[in-house]
Symmetry: C2
């Protein structure tokens, strides 16, 4: 069989054709007016996606680089912080914070369990010296989206800043920075921003900038003051990832043209269809707070989860994701993120159905696709 490859994993995601072809064009120099103009269109355009009036700083790095930048720029040796660990990426905040020698109060949650702003506020009262809370908007490891708005309401009552890893969520699910009062948002290019990996973004509130002014951690590449100075000159302090910036310009145009609300709604419909499909197959979601970025599905009794994902990926060429850490083999994940259409979901569900059948799982073949189609038919505009 001719096997095409399909990406339905939570990053990287499929890239719009207009952005793809940009990478095939000859590279231009970055210390030029033509590039500076494009660079500033990205820096300004990203404010629309962050929903903020604050400056957006652009790193040539993966999202993790911007997470570390937040830690290195906001804090000083021995500072107390809270990290909310509800999965692989919440756990990462704790790893970074400990790597920098911070005094970490880590809130460890069952994957997919909710956590509220009220709970966070109690934690903050118990640790009044906490300077920053590190949270995750979309925890792709469990397919969850946390209530960032309530977290921001909690931190707003204290001196602590709220730092949100919105890497996989920004642009796919609401997280209006200024309206909700989020102090720091970190994002990455290969998720809802719809280009390849390699760019990371960060924006800071004034409350967060006050911490930056007093930070005593050593830093150079991720020093936000250097980026702030360079932004005034329409550039970055170090070589920007030129082709990625140009591609990003294209997808910002795409996102602006569709409108953020429409794109959120698109992700919601794809997610609803995915959830309806797997439930129609008799499967259960892992998360009690499922988001519209990726759906984590429990592998049913008697099915080998590792073999299932392998069949879907290797035999059918459909790159769903398996489970991470202790959930390896216990869940699989279908993303509905970025430049995906309804038929990417139909493709993913049909590949999963075929693989489930091969594993001897008893179900009504076609029921998943049917459930997805019912939603698309009703909601497609």
């Amino acid at each position: 069989m001719i096997k095409k490859l399909y990406l339905v994993s939570p990053g990287p995601v499929p890239i719009p054709e207009d952005a793809l072809v940009e990478a095939a064009k000859p590279i231009i120099h970055h210390r030029t007016e033509i590039f500076s103009d494009i660079f500033m269109e990205v820096a300004e355009g990203m404010k629309y996606i962050f929903q903020t009036k604050q400056d957006i700083f652009i790193f040539a790095s993966s999202g993790t680089g911007a997470m570390e930048a937040a830690v290195a720029n906001l804090l000083s040796p021995g500072d107390e912080v809270i990290t909310i660990n509800g999965g692989k990426f919440g756990e990462r905040w704790g790893e970074i914070a400990r790597a920098w020698g911070l005094n970490v109060h880590e809130i460890v949650l069952e994957w997919g369990e909710p956590y509220t702003g009220d709970q966070l506020y109690e934690e903050l009262k118990a640790h009044p010296n906490v300077k920053a809370v590190f949270a995750t908007l979309s925890e792709t490891s469990s397919g969850s989206v946390y209530d960032i708005k309530s977290f921001a309401e909690a931190t707003a009552k204290t001196d602590a800043v709220l730092v949100v890893d919105a890497i996989s969520g920004l642009g796919a699910t609401p997280c209006p920075m200024d309206e909700w009062g989020v102090d720091v948002i970190v994002a990455g290019s290969q998720k809802a921003l719809m280009i390849p990996p390699g760019l990371a973004y960060i924006a800071l509130s004034e409350k967060a900038w006050n911490l930056v002014e007093n930070s005593k951690f050593p830093k150079y590449y991720f020093d936000l003051k250097a980026y702030k100075k360079s932004l005034g000159k329409k550039t970055t302090p170090y070589t920007p990832a030129i082709s990625l910036i140009i591609q990003q310009k294209k997808t910002i145009d795409f996102i602006k043209k569709m409108g953020l609300e429409t794109i959120f709604e698109h992700h919601r419909i794809l997610a609803d269809a995915t959830r309806a499909a797997v439930q129609a197959l008799g499967l259960e979601l892992l998360s009690k707070i499922p988001g519209n970025i990726a759906t984590a599905v429990k592998v049913p009794e008697g099915v080998d989860g590792i073999a299932l994902v392998k069949t879907v990926q290797k035999k059918y060429g459909v790159y769903i994701a398996g489970g991470q850490s202790s959930y390896k083999g216990k869940i699989f994940r279908i993303a509905h993120l970025g430049y995906m259409s309804a038929f990417d979901i139909i493709t993913a569900i049909s590949a999963v159905e075929m693989a489930l059948a091969e594993q001897g799982y008893k179900f009504d073949m076609g029921a998943g696709v049917k459930a997805a189609m019912e939603i698309f038919r009703r909601e497609w505009k």
Copy 2:
């Protein structure tokens, strides 16, 4: 919704990524050794797809150009010919032949009705002066594949040559030129050859070359003698479509690597899945001799066929084809041709199902996709 465009029409077809990117590379000059080498790899490689030892001539033209080349090079004013018209493309043979003032015996068939070598032999006996028979391997307008082998057996018993429009069929369904004794095969680049439109191919048996030697029709651009002379110099007499030739080299590599038999089997599986899917929806095939290139499906009672195709194309972005000529609105066509995967078929079927439901057609939603999945699951290797 984010709408991606899907091509499931009988040409143009999706193009393998390795061939697509070639068109983004800087153009090279055609009177160079580097291009001549690529050109000859295409001319030689195409022999594998034609299954012939004869030379293959390459035109910068659409397939229709090569059809006209066959007429202009083989015949002389007033010659008698037979054309077999079982659809839009069989009809075209008659149009070209009449445009050149030939004496045409046109066999007009109901779309999708079979025609046999025995019938053709009777026709040839009735018209003993016929110099050429013009037939179609894959008649995409009706989703039919004709029994070319039996036609060749008939013409072999006479002085007439068999000229086959294999534009949409070559490389997707068997038509071994030398083994079957087909005298002339005409092909086009945008079908099973998996690149954009713009190249046409023609190969001739010795029996056909004898006619060429005696042809008195005027010709210049399509003069095969000029192409034969140029082929000895590893080039074409007029500017070749350079980027298309380079893309063709890539897909010949792809086809050779998979193997022609495997590719035929791939098309057969996709076609079986498509036929099973539409039949599971309670729909009927138009053709009594359905091929593995495109499936023509009758629009059921009470469904507006024009609106159906429009919904599938415009709303869902899935470019199935409608009916042509008098079948407009009465059939729709799903191709399973070229660089398509099983999920292109799943996509097409699910879009058709959603559009049928919108038209109020009563059926078991999901049944089509289920039937296709059952076949893919069983046959996918």
